[in-house]
């Protein structure tokens, strides 16, 4: 009787330990295909939001991990954000309205590639700015952790009348402009 009880208790304990271990490491054991499928779903939801043309920055930052690490490589410099809060403070609509444009952007995705927890998105961002239309080519490379974007690197090519003129002037001043327009 004692042996049986002993055996039962040991079995229950071993099973509990095995289940806890499985739960703790379940994320690490996802296959590459599973991670790719999850990342693809996340990116599809993220892009649907951007395509809607009616979204707030608060909705966008919900996709970002609190420890977001984002870098923009712009003609005017390289800008890095090391938290989602810092990103929000920089891009919150009231700041953009004062600083840059009438915040009504929408996006046109050109390409989405997904590979495990990595993704690439090519898109054109459209907006109405104080200085005219804004059509900016972007490439973003993302890393995902869990169900959030934890890192991204963005390169932009100013392709609006205002930005184009401003950058053309900058390049002409520097003797670098080779474009035809």
């Amino acid at each position: 009787m004692i042996r049986k009880t002993h055996f039962l208790i040991s079995t229950v304990l071993l099973t509990t330990v095995a289940l806890a271990w499985t739960a703790a490491f379940s994320d690490d054991r996802k296959s590459h295909a599973e991670l790719t499928a999850e990342t693809r779903q996340l990116m599809e939801r993220f892009l649907r939001l951007h395509e809607s043309g009616d979204f707030s920055l608060k909705e966008v930052v919900k996709f970002y991990h609190k420890d977001l690490n984002a870098t923009y490589y712009r003609p005017t410099g390289i800008f890095t954000f090391t938290s989602v809060q810092q990103y929000y403070e920089a891009y919150k609509p009231e700041r953009l309205t004062n600083y840059d444009f009438d915040y009504a952007p929408w996006s046109e995705p050109l390409l989405v590639l997904v590979d495990g927890e990595n993704a690439v998105v090519r898109y054109i961002g459209h907006a109405r700015t104080k200085e005219g239309e804004y059509h900016n080519h972007y490439i973003h490379m993302y890393r995902v952790r869990g169900d959030k974007i934890v890192e991204y690197h963005a390169m932009t090519n100013p392709h609006s009348d205002a930005h184009y003129a401003r950058n053309k002037q900058l390049l002409e001043d520097l003797g670098l402009y080779k474009g035809g327009q």
């Binding site: 712009r74 590639l113 590979d115 490439i139 184009y164 390049l171 670098l176 474009g179």
Partner: protein, 169 residues
């Protein structure tokens, strides 16, 4: 019983159609991954044999309205583009490449890498992103090349300032 058997047969038929398609997509991605790594090795070694990866009808799109931007639509013009880029650097000083991220999906791939080199106007460090499209023959039909302007502009600004300083003296 018969209905169950028919359903099972249908399911097996569907699976036999679906499974090879999934497997071929996985195979294609892994083939693209291998080719992309080989391409990056040639790029980072500044190996002229990199042109062997290009299809006859290659298109290089450089997303940049400024200098060196535009579409290059032949092996010859792509070679010329890379020659002009290389001429801006002191290659004997060495060029350091660091691969930072790779994304491969079917016949397409994207790589992100950092380049450190000695530009003719000073030390240079920049980030690049390339999107590559591979064809069935294992050749690249399209390269999209993105990079930041700022490091080039910073070097150019220095040169302009030095020139102005020279004029005022």
């Amino acid at each position: 019983m018969m209905k169950v058997l028919i359903s099972v047969c249908w399911l097996a038929c569907l699976l036999s159609l679906y499974a090879p398609a999934v497997q071929s997509q996985v195979d294609l991605t892994e083939r693209t991954r291998t080719l992309t790594h080989q391409y990056y090795e040639h790029l980072s070694e500044i190996n002229p044999a990199i042109s062997e990866f290009w299809a006859d009808k290659i298109l290089l799109f450089v997303n940049n309205d400024g200098p060196w931007g535009g579409d290059f639509k032949s092996r010859q013009s792509v070679t010329q583009y890379y020659r002009e880029m290389a001429a801006m650097f002191d290659l004997e000083e060495g060029v350091e490449f660091e691969l930072l991220q790779t994304v491969v999906d079917g016949a397409m791939a994207a790589i992100r890498f950092r380049v450190k080199a000695q530009h003719v106007r000073g030390s240079y460090e920049n980030h690049y992103m390339h999107v590559l499209t591979w064809n069935d023959d294992g050749k690249i039909t399209r390269i999209e090349n993105f990079y930041g302007w700022e490091p080039f502009l910073a070097l150019q600004r220095q040169a302009v300032q030095q020139r102005e300083k020279g004029c005022s003296n």
